[in-house]
């Protein structure tokens, strides 16, 4: 039985939502989490790669949720030139189904109530202020009151819009993605591979993330304004045909990833946005799991604090946008600028850059070394890259 009123309602049961619910409940608030699908974590609209060290800052994942640990990233230029980049932060491939269930379990342990098959289709306003949500449940429609709403409803966030926060994306800043989980192939589980090029994935990249020695998430994202002729699905079918002919397809999934500048504000009267709903995924890589968990935790804590102070108007919740901006805003803007430049680079420039990087032994790849080699051998590239900044 669902109560008629809660302190906090969280909309969306992804990493941001479950984490926000957990921290809000730990702070002593009564929390209800509403998920529109039948199950948390399903369908898995995710390539499932995450930085291990950054993830551990916020959550200790269930060991069963970690399938593969990686130590490097392999980049493949349009002409096939490869270079391997070793990172200091070891990456890992998650099993998002187990991972999301686990986050949900932690939220429930903390005291949050989770309901699936609950589709939120509107907000309830009381004298101009948000007073709750309208939700469609399998047994009918219901209005549930809440003091604060945390909108973690993903890239398609509508809850934020209903509250008057601008959350829709321009096509340029949305990656339109398609992914297949392929079986019966042979992949190296030491590294992830990223393929670039206008023929592969215009305005994005294609990824091969190993889940096992014979299984991998193979997908790609294209900038949504560059899909007039071919869709992400068409590009991926072509890519798989070329690189993994004869592979078995275990799963197909489509999805969108926000690649935007930070939103001006991710809060309103009685509402906080977290995760993809707030455009907080990395604009360069599209990775958003840790970002969502970090923002969810912050949102949960701040919602709880405001409840204790008894004031949750826009001016009281502004601290959320400010804290996010202070911690991650600068980095987010920097990654966005890099993304804009990378998307403008021509295939020829990418090839030339890859040739340079392939010449440097992977242990010595530093920005300084790259710059020095480029200046000595291919100074024209620097001009090409500089031109993209204009």
């Amino acid at each position: 039985m669902i109560n008629d009123s809660y302190d906090i309602i969280v909309v969306g049961g992804g990493p941001a939502g479950t984490t926000a619910a957990r921290w809000a409940a730990l702070g002593g608030a009564s929390v209800l989490l509403l998920e529109k699908d039948r199950e948390l974590g399903i369908p898995v609209r995710c390539a499932e790669a995450v930085g291990w060290k950054t993830l551990l800052k916020y959550v200790q994942p269930n060991p069963q949720a970690v399938t593969v640990k990686l130590n490097s990233v392999r980049f493949i230029a349009p002409d096939g030139t490869e270079f391997v980049f070793k990172t200091d932060d070891v990456g890992c491939i998650l099993n998002r189904r187990i991972f999301d269930h686990d986050l949900g379990r932690m939220a429930a342990q903390a005291g949050a109530r989770i309901i699936t098959r609950a589709y939120v289709n509107g907000l309830v306003f009381q004298s101009g202020k948000i007073g709750g949500v309208k939700v469609s449940l399998p047994d009918g429609n219901k209005e549930i009151k809440a003091k604060i709403i945390i909108a973690a409803d993903g890239v398609e966030s509508r809850v934020g819009r209903w509250a008057g926060i601008r959350t829709h994306h321009v096509p340029k800043d949305l990656e339109s993605c398609y992914q297949m989980t392929l079986g019966g192939i042979s992949v190296n589980t030491d590294y992830v591979s990223c393929y670039f090029g206008t023929n592969v994935a215009p305005g994005g990249y294609a990824w091969v993330f190993p889940k096992d020695e014979d299984t991998a998430n193979v997908g790609l994202g294209i900038s949504a304004n560059r899909s007039e002729e071919l869709k992400a699905q068409d590009y991926l079918e072509r890519f798989v045909e070329k690189r993994f002919p004869g592979a078995s397809v275990l799963a197909c999934v489509a999805g969108g990833v926000p690649n935007t500048k930070p939103f001006k504000k991710v809060h309103g009267d009685g509402i906080l946005l977290a995760g993809d709903a707030a455009g907080q995924a990395s604009p360069l890589t599209g990775g958003g799991i840790t970002n969502a968990i970090a923002a969810g935790k912050l949102a949960g804590e701040i919602a709880c604090e405001s409840l204790k102070n008894g004031s949750y108007l826009e001016k009281n919740l502004a601290v959320y946008t400010k804290k996010w901006e202070d911690q991650w805003g600068g980095e987010h803007r920097r990654l966005y600028r890099i993304k804009e430049v990378v998307n403008k680079l021509s295939d020829v420039t990418l090839n030339n850059a890859a040739h340079i990087l392939a010449e440097i032994p992977s242990e010595q790849i530093t920005l300084k070394q790259v710059f020095r080699t480029t200046l000595a051998r291919h100074p024209k590239i620097l001009i090409d890259i500089a031109r993209c900044f204009l």
Binding site: S176, A224, E228, K231, Q233
Partner: protein
């Protein structure tokens, strides 16, 4: 399938929008780029409020699987 006029990157105006639900994966890309919030997406159901829709042409672009197709005159 060419939504964009070749010159100056301006899109030609759509005359109608067709939902091919058999292709749809309910991923939400279309909702994310809709400037007027006219797309309703439930677990396994998509519908467009054609009264609100301005035929801006964003959603056929964002759709990864050609489930939304814009028609030009």
């Amino acid at each position: 399938m060419n939504y964009r006029a070749k010159r100056k990157g301006k899109r030609t105006e759509l005359t109608s929008l067709i939902i091919k639900e058999e292709n749809c994966d309910y991923c939400g890309c279309c909702v994310a780029v809709c400037p007027v919030d006219c797309i309703e997406l439930e677990e396994k159901k998509i519908s467009i409020d054609m009264i609100k829709c301005t035929l801006c042409g964003n959603c056929p672009y964002a759709c990864p699987v050609s489930a939304l197709v814009g028609e030009t005159a």
